[in-house]
Amino acid sequence: MKTLIYSSALSLLFLAACSGSSNKTQSNADPNSASTKAMASESSEKGASTAAILNSYIKLKNAFTTDNDKEAASAGKEMVTAFAGFDKKSLTAEQDKAYTDIYEDAKEHAEHIGDNVGNITHQREHFDMLSKDMYDLVKLLGTNQSLYVDHCPMYNNNKGAIWLSEVKDIKNPYLGAAMPTCGTVKEELN
């Protein structure tokens, strides 16, 4: 009898775990939310506008400068929505191919950041890879705001990492409050 009780309890636990997680993935992947549509119409004015994507990236970056994993997660989710609302129509075939390469990678990083509240180290690792994607995205499609490419030499065991910033002052998103001013401006993007 005892084993039966245990196995019943266990099975309920499993069921609860399974259904809980499937719900979560559903709500994350919903591309038809109101904000998506709003962003899509906004960006269609300038054709292939990267504004919504870059705005959510900047939010993400600023969350990391203050070591805020929760804000980073919500910015990551916002970025997934921004990608979903991106209008590819005005891209040339060649741009489309390069964009898809960036998008498939970047979307995954944004999703991971969104799913990893409580693990800012892991979020930052994805932010490192995401920042390279964003740099390539701006090089490919341009930006309507001035951006600085900053470099942190210490992150990732001194392998270094870049990030994009809307302000000239250094606010390091990789080391956060521990070393807020570590880094240099490498390039300006317009």
Partner: protein, 154 residues
Amino acid sequence: MIFPGLFAILVIIQFIQPDHNKSGQVMPNDISETVLMPNEVKGILKKACYDCHSNNTDYPWYTYVQPVHWFMNYHIKSGKDELNFNEFGTYTPRRQQNKLRSIESSLKEGTMPLYSYTLIHRNAILSKAEKSLILEWVQSSKDSLNKNTQSRVH
């Protein structure tokens, strides 16, 4: 009164057997077609990673008991979404690089293989030598992929 009900549910769900993660097909997009892969590396990945990160799972007997099967399926699905060694060739060059980097960091941090997996699959616990073998292979694969991308651009 609750327990007979639970028991009935337990019995009923045994009849729900979802599809197994099995594919007898050749794998043209397998990672070994994209990067060089020594046999030892292949062996380690097969025993410690492929159950959740490929199109073929070795199912132990108890996974045929429900609700363990659902639990496993969920794990396998999320594992494959994250990284599928059999589909590695379909990833864009950028993603291939980053997947290798993630393999490296999850090994170094010890987040993979999952504890809940090694709890039962004791032989999936990687020895120091096995770990460093994989890490070396990751490094050389990253370098060779890098070279490929650069030669394509120039």
